[in-house]
């Protein structure tokens, strides 16, 4: 592929789009703001297209220049696309949801006051894209805040809905707390290594832990036997990121926030925020796992996190009757599977990274599809309990069929993309021999079948309480069909995703760090 413009142009154009939308929101005379979302969808789709014409940014790292913070590898580009696609899906959902939205906003008749609802996600998208490329703790922190602050506003967007306000308050407080953990952890790591760039931190750590006979250096590393301060910093960073990816025991905010937030925001949160959290987690972990003295301990922490997350997410999902809440717990459960792959990063790095990226791509498709259908159904049934799906198979075969597909994929039934993700995760776990996590994972999958199939049972086993047919907007119909088709296509033929993940041959890290 030809390189036409640098990758940073993607973020810049997204930011420009956001600014333009803000101006339009301020000055546009049309009361109904939904056209803004439609334009934004078009522009974002074009940016996804452009992203295939960009290539890696300058590979050299010059101290002090911007590029020490920003790197574009295949994974970063892939996650930028994930962010863009998620945002597009969010806007489609938001259009479907605007009728609900206006009910809970003062003075929002005729769509007034919904402009920010379309424009904040564009900024969040930019944040997510920066995060995908961030290789410096400073940029990681700044982009993470861009995302989180955007979400503070979005989560509490329906100002007249108390549940929504409660969700906003909880998200704000716990989000701020997690940010505190993250910054404090970064400070400790900076204090020890004197660096914020991940590559340089890694070099510094390798030097600090070097043993003369192994590394060929003369002096004994100054960090040997002295790692507790460093471990403290690492754990703080992991806690901060644990909040973002909804890993137990930092998952407390998830159910209430997911249930209270406007449904499109919930979907965005569970996909965008999680994907970004994991991409940062993988980048940070790569640094620490490269040091043998730390790797084992960090892996132990990850195993514990994964085990707790799997158990908590799956067990608490079992009795849920509200679909949004069910998805909240299931999102914790999926974080558990992803953490299994993270715990395998030390033993099987390439395969584990591939598994995480692939899993997230699949998770994006199936989560967005199920939330999109939830929004449509909830709008017509006036509720998002599982029982509101009763008899959907009769009311709307398309929606029920697509939902069945999404659920099958979430549960991990073969020939869907969700299964392939699970398979990759289990494969890396087998390769690294995490038998505890594998056995927990097996129980988790079986439990998952139970709570996911509840939705299918409601749709097909039960009779509809209300038999009015459901009409679907054309754009939504296209999105549902596209997502459903992609779930099957990538479940059978994963190559398009795998080629995007393939890294071009990269210079070894030590080589970069020497300059």
């Amino acid at each position: 592929m030809q390189q036409i413009f640098p990758a940073i142009a993607l973020e810049i154009s997204v930011l420009l789009l956001g600014v333009l939308m803000l101006l339009a929101e301020a000055f546009s005379r049309r009361a109904d703001r939904s056209h803004m979302a439609r334009y934004a969808i078009g522009v974002l789709a074009a940016i996804v297209g452009f992203s295939f014409f960009t290539k890696a940014a300058p590979e050299h790292i010059e101290a002090g220049s911007y590029w020490t913070m920003y790197s574009v590898d295949a994974t970063a580009l892939f996650f930028k696309r994930i962010a863009l696609v998620t945002t597009i899906a969010f806007l489609i959902m938001a259009l479907e949801y605007r009728h609900v939205l206006t009910r809970f906003i003062p003075g929002a008749e005729e769509g007034r006051g919904t402009g920010e609802f379309y424009c904040l996600p564009v900024f969040i998208c930019a944040g997510l894209m920066f995060m995908a490329s961030a290789v410096d703790f400073i940029l990681i922190f700044v982009s993470l805040e861009l995302v989180t602050i955007g979400f503070y506003a979005l989560v509490a967007y329906m100002r007249r809905n108390t549940l929504c306000l409660e969700a906003g308050a909880k998200y704000l407080i716990l989000g701020a707390l997690s940010t505190g953990f993250l910054v404090y952890g970064i400070t400790w790591i900076f204090g020890i290594t004197g660096q914020t760039n991940l590559f340089l931190v890694k070099t510094e750590l390798i030097r600090g832990f070097s043993v003369p006979s192994i590394a060929g250096t003369e002096h004994l590393g100054h960090l040997i036997g002295n790692e507790s301060a460093l471990l403290f910093g690492i754990v703080l960073v992991l806690v901060g990121l644990g909040f973002k990816v909804a890993a137990a025991p930092f998952q407390l905010w998830v159910p209430d926030v997911y249930q209270g937030a406007p449904t499109p925001v919930t979907a965005f949160l569970s996909v965008g925020s999680k994907a970004a959290g994991f991409v940062v987690l993988v980048r940070v972990l790569e640094v620490f796992l490269a040091v043998p003295a730390l790797g084992g301990k960090v892996t132990t922490v990850l195993v514990l996190l994964a085990a707790a997350t799997l158990i908590y997410g799956n067990i608490t999902a079992l009795p849920q009757e509200n679909l949004k809440r069910l998805f909240a717990y299931s999102s914790i459960a999926h974080a558990g599977y992803l953490l299994i792959a993270c715990a395998s990063l030390a033993g099987d790095p390439a395969a584990a990274k591939q598994a995480i990226s692939f899993y997230l791509a699949g998770y994006l498709l199936m989560t967005l599809l199920s939330f999109l259908i939830l929004i449509v159904v909830a709008r017509h049934s006036r509720g998002d309990e599982i029982r509101h799906f009763n008899g959907l198979g009769k009311r709307s075969p398309l929606l029920a069929g697509a939902m069945t597909l999404a659920i099958a994929s979430l549960a991990g039934i073969p020939l869907t993309v969700g299964f392939l993700g699970k398979f990759l995760v289990f494969k890396t776990a087998v390769a690294t021999g995490h038998w505890l996590l594998i056995s927990l994972g097996i129980v988790a999958v079986a439990a998952g079948f139970y709570y996911y199939l509840k939705v299918i049972a409601a749709m097909y086993w039960q009779e509809p309480t209300d038999s009015t047919p459901i009409e679907i907007a054309p754009l939504t119909r296209i999105a549902i069909t596209a997502l459903g088709v992609l779930i099957i296509v990538f479940g059978i033929f994963p190559t398009p995703i795998l080629t995007q993940l393939r890294e071009p041959a990269r210079k070894p890290v030590a080589d970069i760090a020497q300059r």
């Binding site: 198979g393 009769k394 075969p397 069929g401 069945t404 099958a408 549960a411 991990g412 039934i413 073969p414 020939l415 299964f419 699970k422 398979f423 289990f426 494969k427 087998v430 390769a431 594998i438 994972g441 097996i442 999958v445 079986a446 079948f449 139970y450 199939l453 299918i456 049972a457 097909y460 086993w461 059978i492 033929f493 994963p494 190559t495 795998l498």
Partner: protein, 491 residues
Amino acid sequence: MTVLSLILLLPIVNALAIMFGAPARRSALLASWAQLALTLFAVLGYHRDAGGLQFQSTWNVASEWGLSLKLGADGLSLVMLLLTALVTVAAVHASPRIEKREGLFFACVLLIDAGAAGAFASFDLFFFYAFHELALIPTFLLIGIWGHGQRHAAAWRNTVYLALGSIILLVGRAQLYLADPVGARTFDMVLMLKNRALIPAAAQGGIYGWLLVGFGILISLVPFHSWAPSAYASAPTPAAMLHAGVLKKFGLYGLLRVAVPLLPEGAREWSHVLLVLLVLNILYIGLVTIAQKRLDTMLGYSSVMHMGYIFLGIAAGNAVGLSGAALLMLGHGLSIAALFAVCGYLRQNSPTTAFIDFGGIAKTAPFLGYAFGMAAFASIGLPGFANFAGDLMVFFGAFGSAPMPGALSFSAIQIAVICGLWGVVISAVYMLRAYRQMFMGAGTGTNVIADAAPMLRWPLLVLLAALLIGGVWPRSYLSFIQPSVEALIAK
């Protein structure tokens, strides 16, 4: 496009067409007969002299994992495909009148069929497994919507249990894939067989254990059997026929195709555990079957019990035993499908299926009497039916797999054979008792059963004919099965 891809596409396309409004029952009938015709065409077109894998087509899916959709068939898979096609025809014919959502019903039946056919025609470990799972949600829907009795509980238990089995199988499969050294890793089952020496002997026991438990759950090996009787008893007739007749054979086929040839050391390590479990399958479940008071649960348990014999053939591990197991898979699939078809007909025409509510059916419905009787005899293992030939080979194969005993010292597998022979007596007890109670004697007067309509007669005749052919001329099937099995276990 080979005939196999047509066999595979036909039911899937048909299911989609039905969902989009094609006339349900007629399309399903058409698809199932067309599938049977295509399968017969493939069977007749298979060059037995050349042997090996034929009708191959490969579609590369992910080359970096060595993953491709590889369709093909050797003699063994052709016989399984034939079983699938025969039972599907019978199942579609035996479907009762569907009051609600006829389209969804037949689409589900066809999807189960497609899953089974796909699994038997795939020579790629990934798709072999994936196709089987295609049947999971259709079964859940069939039992949950159109089932009988405690259908919701049965559907949940069945689905979650099978999902558990599948995920255990998945881990075993991942281990199998990773057991080969990097670079030689592939999902291609032909290549895996060729490279089987690469799997270290020390690793085999663990992998075989995972596969045995995973497949064992799907096959209803004791103690993982509790999902099966309730699911079969509550499932609508075609679902019970397809599930007990065909889908359950997937697990056995997997053991035969994957576990035994690739992991001979593992099979040896686990042989004693397997022997104990299979004897429990035969004797313990046999006794439980005798205690049943209703036809549907009795058939459900009997189908669990008969898996024990097939396991015995697999435990034998030699060509005779394995071929017998494969023949028995066919015979059991056909006979249990016929029995469930009759049972479903009785259930439609009577408020209960308890033995005590029936009597003298053979007087008012002689055809049903003959059909049930023959299927029951086949199921017991009486001479003249494919099951007899299969049983015989399994017993001989298993007995001969250990050195001949001295005065009175039998090896473990020979003791298992002796226990298994008692199982035949147990089967005779429950089957004949049910037959006498329901079909013979005086009628109850209140519960008069009219004879089966031609719609049900044809499929029963087809199933019984296939059983008889296997009984009087076992060579017809064995000439397909045996060379494939010998190729599998050839050193």
